[in-house]
């Protein structure tokens, strides 16, 4: 039986298809999901999500969020998600640099800002590493 995977961000539905397997980055390490998995709820960490469909692998970079697995239906709710092919390395590097610069003045920022900037940095790193591997 095939799995259905749905990846949704606040801006759009990024991915929705039936797939064979998927590897999801969580805060407790990567988890691989095959059909027949038990019901699970986990926290998604920034990182690369690898989808296998018909023997082909697709890599997406995802931001933090949550995943719910319920009877072969996988729902990923992520802050961001982007297909590796669409990642623009230079744009990511600029965003990374800007966030890192802003983080240097950590003392002047409030904790929520620091948190969101760190999220940006982690997502940027995730995108870059996914891009490198995807090539």
């Amino acid at each position: 039986m095939a799995l259905t995977l749905e990846i949704v961000t606040p801006e759009a539905r990024v991915y929705s298809d039936t797939i064979d397997t998927v590897v999801i980055p969580t805060t407790a390490g990567e988890i691989g999901i095959l059909p027949g998995h038990i019901a699970l709820v986990a926290q998604v960490a920034e990182g690369e999500l690898r989808v296998t469909k018909d023997g082909k692998q697709l890599i997406l970079a995802v931001g933090g969020g949550f995943v719910e697995i319920d009877r072969d239906k996988i729902s990923v709710l992520a802050e961001q998600a982007i297909n590796v092919e669409k990642i623009d390395v230079s744009a990511v590097e600029i965003a990374l640099k800007r966030a890192q610069d802003a983080l240097k003045e950590k003392s002047t920022l409030d904790p929520a800002q620091v948190e969101s900037l760190e999220g940006v940095v982690r997502f940027a790193f995730a995108q870059l590493s996914a891009k490198r591997r995807g090539r």
């Binding site: 749905e6 949704v8 961000t9 606040p10 801006e11 759009a12 539905r13 969580t26 805060t27 407790a28 988890i31 038990i38 019901a39 699970l40 709820v41 986990a42 926290q43 949550f66 719910e68 319920d70 009877r71 729902s75 709710l77 929520a112 969101s116």
Partner: protein
Amino acid sequence: MASTRDIRRRIKSVKNTRQITKAMELVAASKMKKAQQAALAGQPYAHLLTNMLAALAPHVSDQLHPFLARRTVKTRGILLITSDKGLCGPLNANLFKLATEIKTPAKFYSIGRKGTQFLARSKRDLVADFPVQDRAPFSEVKVAVEFIAKQYLDGVIDTVEVIFPRFKNTLVQEPVLRPLLPLDNLREYLENSQRHGGVFQPDEANRNQPFEFEPDAKTVLSALLPFYVNREIYQFVLLARASEHSARMVAMKTAKDNATSLVGELTLQYNKARQAAITQEIVEIAAASFSAA
């Protein structure tokens, strides 16, 4: 009958008004498009998140997180989401009607200047109001939500409920009172709203297999629940913004159409008055020449 000059003056002023309302309609239309897009794009995410919680809720004990536990309600907490500006038809008045119906002790929180003014005027217990820009950045909404969540956790309020205009389409915005916290009645609420044309898809089979949590239930819930509340209220704000601009565009379009028909009527009146004056003059001249002859 009014003099032709008076009528001409009125035509001019009505035309001016029409010009203004037309401009406002166009502005509202373009803002509406953006606001609607933002609200609709967020919709699948919000629905999925809600469904996820609804599936989860029956399987976790309400001791795991304060957001889940029901307590005796002494003071309700109401967040009122309105527009900052007026001229948007009955949108805000409909929300106020809902707010007025609340008779039990409640504390109020407000997003939107109109709501703040209303609560102050009606002498409600307004605890705080939060300015949120028109394009509603998440960071500004988050400030409000965190404040309210803290009040809830501190026991100042025992529920969190939100009054906002739910966006249905450009012509229809429906004022709703949505109970948000505690979350224990989430499923109940969703099933209710499902009956009223909501979007909730209940599980096909009643599942009794419990959920596993990674790393553990407490960690996941303490991240997921506040996140859910944040997201949900943010979505409400987006919907309220879409409603606001839609209502304003419709109101302005009506005003423009009214002005157009008024100009038509006045022009008719003006022509009648003009013709009456000319006829009068001819009669006078004829009478004068007749008596002179």
